[in-house]
Symmetry: C2
Amino acid sequence: MNTLAYGLLSLLSYSPDSGYDLMLKIQSCWPAKHSQIYPLLSQMESEGYVRHVLVTQTDKPDKKVYSITDKGRDALRAWLTVPANDPVIRDELILKVFAMDQGDPDDMKRQLELRINYCRDRVHWLDRKIEFYSSKEPPPSRGMRLLLERGRFATQSDLNWAEWALEQLQDES
Amino acid sequence: MNTLAYGLLSLLSYSPDSGYDLMLKIQSCWPAKHSQIYPLLSQMESEGYVRHVLVTQTDKPDKKVYSITDKGRDALRAWLTVPANDPVIRDELILKVFAMDQGDPDDMKRQLELRINYCRDRVHWLDRKIEFYSSKEPPPSRGMRLLLERGRFATQSDLNWAEWALEQLQDES
DNA sequence: AACACCATGTAATCAGTTACATGATTAT
DNA sequence: ATAATCATGTAACTGATTACATGGTGTT
């Protein structure tokens, strides 16, 4: 039971879901590929945290729908009480701007522009998502709201920094 | 040559350094343990990106001081031109707040308070560092400045979010 | 003497990505 | 037909952490 496993349990605590959909949903807060999720789900099942049923579909391929067990819910509750580890941010761009004196300033401006575009897209996407969730009656979950809002805060600050950094570079040249 | 290796080259592009000091310095932007760095440095040396000399010290244990080679500088310059990968943020706290409806609200408040303290400490630490670097004459490097400033932006937004989230929870109860 | 920090390394394990593999269904 | 999306899985590899191991130096 690693962090990804608890992330999957968190999603399943709201509603049963297929491995494929869990994979899509967890991307925003704990990126993982299907090749990591499918084996983990069957391991979690063998340890009794989740179980699955086969659901046949006519419009799409059949799927396995997983749901959380009582043991899974207990494990999730216990996990919520232990202090979260410090966040880990791995951002290549920061390393590149750190080393920028070794290269061409124009390259660095291009890098920052790419980041600015990435952040702008993400902010818009998050805004639409937040709007969608808060317009729903009843509101789906407090957790989802806080999660989306966290993404917005972080992406906005990344954007603010990248725009500021680009200005710094342009002022110098 | 992975991202960590380029991170080490970036640091070495400023000044020669020991594995131990590189390990300490890289924590803020690309966390890595000494057990990952020492073997990587010797691999990088065997491939000609860095070289080392033994430096004997009287006040402290002897050390290996690595410096970047011409081949290393070329590789670093080339790396600066390729677009940076998207940033990856892995934050357990976000998963925990997402699942909070399954647990005790007081646990979640404790989690947020821990994060708030963590962020406040980090903001102060970064402020001191930024002040130290900008008071120096001549200013050490643009890259370092942007890197520290990026950390500040991000930590401040994390702090703002955590404080906002805590308020939300307190308003509800 | 005990502790903290400096300094380096290896071994075992876990986490995560990339590549390989297959096949259904829907839209163009 | 052919591409895109849905759906699941395994194998090989790379990246990262934890544990094991050693020893110097300085402080209390």
